[in-house]
Amino acid sequence: MILMYIKAFLVGGALCALGEIIILKTKLTPARILVCYITAGVILSAVGLYAPIVKFAGAGATVPLTGFGHTLAQGAISAVQEIGLLGAFTGGLAAASGGIAAAIFFGFLAAVCFKPKPKQ
């Protein structure tokens, strides 16, 4: 159990440190980093490289945005297995719907509840 937390810390931290290196070296904006990470997650997951990392590090691999891509890809693949070609279109979003709906809902709620702070 404790080992799992250590592994989650190390792998999750490493993915973030890699992001920091990419930001510093290439001057990519955070938005592009997010796009790169989610696309990389989808591709790595599709070729079967990401599932072992998830198995090894748990949330260390699923919490970073690559894990979001992994969820999308695995959702699409398993839906294709179940219902055929239609699943390619329904599976990804269905699997990732929780996080997306939460981000939309809580984002909207925060905009309703809080006034933006003036930037220093």
Binding site: M1, Y5, A8, V11, G12, G13, A14, L15, C16, A17, L18, G19, E20, I23, L24, P30, A31, I33, L34, V35, Y37, I38, V42, I43, S45, A46, G58, A59, T62, V63, P64, L65, G67, F68, G69, L72, A73, A76, I77, V80, G84, L85, A88, F89, G91, G92, L93, G98, G99, A102, A103, I104, F106, G107, L109, A110, A111, C113, F114, K117
Partner: protein, 153 residues
Amino acid sequence: MQKSPSKQQFIQQYKRMVSAVTPKSKAAQGCLRAFWVGGVICVLGQVLIDVSMYFWQFSYTQGACFASISLVFLTALLTGIGIFDVIGKYAGAGTVVPITGFANAMVSPAMEFRPEGWVLGTGARLFTIAGPVLVYGIAASVLVGVIYYFLVL
């Protein structure tokens, strides 16, 4: 005796040396900060998965979904009260790469552009950064599904 460079020149040279060296140590510091903050966020995610699996008998997938939703909620709350920006400034990619970065990228402009109206301000700006992320993520996943269909099945 050879003429030594004047003091002015010497200072200039020193400054050049400093500026050549500084970014590297800053990069190391940035990576370290991103590493430990990002690591802590992932550990928090793991705790949320374990707690939900233990108390509510969630499956692992459900637990991971619960962890994502909780982290998104936390990010929205911390962004709302202005704490997230402080953490983000310290941690750099440490808060961008986890799902917290995705959530913050939605919450932050949604709040900021509220004066432009509920529809074209908040409603539209929610997706300034999340939009591209979803476009590429979903498009890639559809492509993966289609390729899988023709290749494997």
